[in-house]
């Protein structure tokens, strides 16, 4: 016996060692539970992160748009002369055309948003529809006028360039690869861009990008902000302000704050992709439920083994109590056993989970040789699994420990 090991630890460790097979089986059970939690959590987190990354690399977290134009009903005079009781004379309303217009006082709005702690990047933009002409062929496009310095921190266009570069000077345009293919264009070629307002400009293709979506590759084009402003008839104005935030899941809350603060309607990616977000939330709920039930089964496993141990060791507990060992000491012996089972199981389970994840990472690869789901072995996940199993072990052990502590030594010795 080591002089630095407390009495309770000595007894608990020996009891576990004595029931080797029992200890081995329950540790195996806990390990499998922890491995499932680690594997599932990492896999689902990887999938979720991947989905969100794919969604958010092509769009801002929050977008501010100018208010929509509305038509108000005409209000006439009171027939009976009562004030405040107006009567609608013509209830037939025609929806108005939504003209492209600028956000009012957008520079002040941008400054206000930039001052918010949760905000990472703010990028004003001017966007609208246009037509590109190449010989006798034309294509409808979405013209995005952006400030490259800030916009590229929201949508990483330089990383999507397949030909040329992501340069956006006054006469440059970046186009999607499908559009380039349809019009037989390459970087350095000229392209005429015409808008409905009648403005037209010949631009040089500085880069061709792959946005990861055929439709986007057919329609999306990017020009410098002031080029778009002159083409779209928005001199000095912006049609939207793009924002990214530190916590993507807090985007909706930040969007509401921005609306309150600036008076401009702000839509978060969560609101814009409500179905996608609810699918993510359903996945998170399912993951939590799985973790909870696996944790519960681990706890029940430990509790049942310790209850059996209390019955098996009742005479020994009785004699320990008779020789002056306190109830508290007996209780700690069994709590420690629960904690040790949880700890051993979680260490083994974390190792199994990590091995399974590494194996999955190697096996589940796409045709391009890259992993289908990017998985990272994160220390907090293993720490959480360890803490969860330890806690489950202690909680599970509390009932058998109390039972052991309450054993009447006399009854226990008599059997």
């Amino acid at each position: 016996m080591k002089s630095w090991v407390p009495f309770e630890w000595i007894i608990a460790a020996r009891f576990l060692r004595e029931g080797r097979l029992q200890t081995l089986f329950i540790t195996g059970g806990v390990a499998i539970g922890v491995a499932v939690i680690v594997f599932m959590s990492a896999l689902l987190a990887g999938m979720q992160g991947n989905f969100i990354r794919r969604v958010l690399t092509a769009q801002p977290h929050i977008q501010l748009l100018p208010p929509k134009e509305v038509v108000r009903a005409l209000r006439g005079h009171n027939y009976d002369g009562d004030e405040g009781k107006n009567v609608v004379e013509s209830a037939e309303l025609q929806p108005p055309l939504q003209r492209l217009k600028s956000i009012d006082q957008w520079q002040a709005v941008v400054a206000q948003i930039r001052s918010m702690d949760q905000v990472l990047v703010v990028s004003p933009a001017a966007g609208g529809s246009a037509l590109v002409l190449r010989g006798s062929t034309s294509r409808a496009i979405t013209l995005n006028g952006v400030e490259p310095d800030t916009y590229f921190r929201i949508v990483a266009l330089p990383s999507k360039v397949v030909h040329g570069s992501a340069r956006l000077n006054a006469g440059d345009i970046i186009i999607g690869m499908e559009l380039a293919s349809d019009l037989g264009l390459d970087s350095g070629d000229k392209l005429r861009v015409t808008t409905a307002a009648g403005a037209s400009n010949i631009l040089t293709i500085s880069g061709i990008v792959d946005l990861g979506n055929k439709g986007a590759n057919q329609r999306s084009t990017f020009v410098a902000l002031h080029t778009a402003q002159s083409l779209l008839g928005l001199p000095g104005g912006v049609s939207n302000i793009d924002v990214t935030v530190r916590d993507v899941y807090a985007a909706e809350v930040v969007a509401r704050e921005i609306t309150e603060k600036t008076g401009v309607q702000a839509d978060s990616w969560i609101a814009a992709n409500a179905q996608f977000f609810s699918a993510i939330q359903a996945q998170m709920t399912a993951n939590t439920a799985i973790r909870f039930f696996v944790g519960l089964s681990v706890a029940f496993g430990i509790a049942s083994v310790l209850f059996v141990s209390v019955v098996q060791k009742s005479k020994e507990i009785g004699i320990l109590r008779a020789m002056g060992i306190s109830r508290g000491q007996i209780m700690r012996v069994f709590l420690l056993q629960g904690g040790l089972l949880g700890l051993l199981g979680s260490i083994a389970g974390s190792s199994i989970g990590a091995a399974a994840l590494i194996l999955w990472h190697r096996i589940a690869v796409g045709p391009d040789g890259l992993p289908l789901v990017p998985i990272t072995l994160e220390v907090p996940l293993f720490a959480a699994a360890l803490a969860l199993a330890l806690l489950a072990g202690l909680v599970a052990a509390s009932a058998p420990a109390m039972r052991a502590a309450r054993l009447d030594p006399l009854v226990a010795i008599r059997g």
């Binding site: 009495f7 002056g324 006399l410």
Partner: protein, 227 residues
């Protein structure tokens, strides 16, 4: 002890008084045998004296300390420091070696092992003639050896009172004699009081005093002055 009574199923139609007004004084150093038929209340008496059970009435003092009003923690402490137990079955901890079993009461009391505890346990092993079985697991010892280890464990805390509840009941004659002789020897050398429950008249006659318990009463006391 004075006027010690013990009843079970109190305030029910099944209320039974097991011990009736027991008066007994056990001077330090006395070796007292308790005899009587099964069910007469010998073990109940021993358990009450050993603070494992509480009397329904009467008073019990150990080493001059009144015990009937003490709480659970105080009783546990008193039990650890003043009383040693040997039962009919040894109840050794099977996961521990002979020397570790002897150390157990000292370890539980101090919280951590020490060289002094080990030395005390080894000395008791020597007294019991089991020095060569020091590291044997409890399960690998013979019945007689196990009971001798149980006696050594009971003596580990140098109690002032040793309570033995038929410790030789499961042993063959030779082992029983060895165990009894060892307890008697320690009683003489260390001066502790011993209450020794037995059905064996030959062993009882080797004690300082025999008390006979029948139907929960001490009906006879016989003195055999030690030589």
């Amino acid at each position: 002890m004075e006027g010690l009574c013990k009843s079970f199923n109190i305030a029910t139609p099944l209320e039974t008084e097991i011990l009736h007004s027991i008066d007994l004084t056990l001077p330090r150093g006395e070796f007292c045998a308790v005899m009587g038929p099964s069910g007469s209340g010998k073990s109940t008496l021993l358990h009450i004296v050993g603070l494992l059970d509480r009397p329904t009435q009467g008073r019990l003092a150990i080493g001059g300390q009144e015990t009937t009003e003490l709480d659970e923690a105080a009783l546990t402490h008193l039990r650890a420091h003043e009383i040693g137990f040997v039962f009919q079955y040894h109840h050794l901890l099977s996961a521990f070696s002979a020397v570790e079993n002897i150390m157990m009461p000292m370890l539980g009391d101090a919280g951590f092992a020490s060289d002094a505890m080990l030395a005390r346990a080894e000395s008791l092993l020597g007294i019991m003639g089991l020095a060569h079985r020091r590291d044997s697991l409890a399960t690998n010892l013979s019945g007689g050896e196990q009971q001798r280890i149980a006696v050594a464990r009971a003596l580990a805390m140098k109690p002032s009172l040793l309570l033995a509840d038929e410790p030789t009941g499961n042993l063959d004659t030779k082992s029983a004699d060895t165990v009894f002789s060892l307890i008697r020897e320690v009683n003489r050398s260390q001066g502790m009081a011993v209450l020794f429950v037995t059905h064996n008249p030959a062993l009882a006659r080797r004690c300082d005093r025999i008390i006979e318990v029948i139907d929960g009463r001490i009906v006879q006391a016989q003195n055999f002055p030690s030589l």
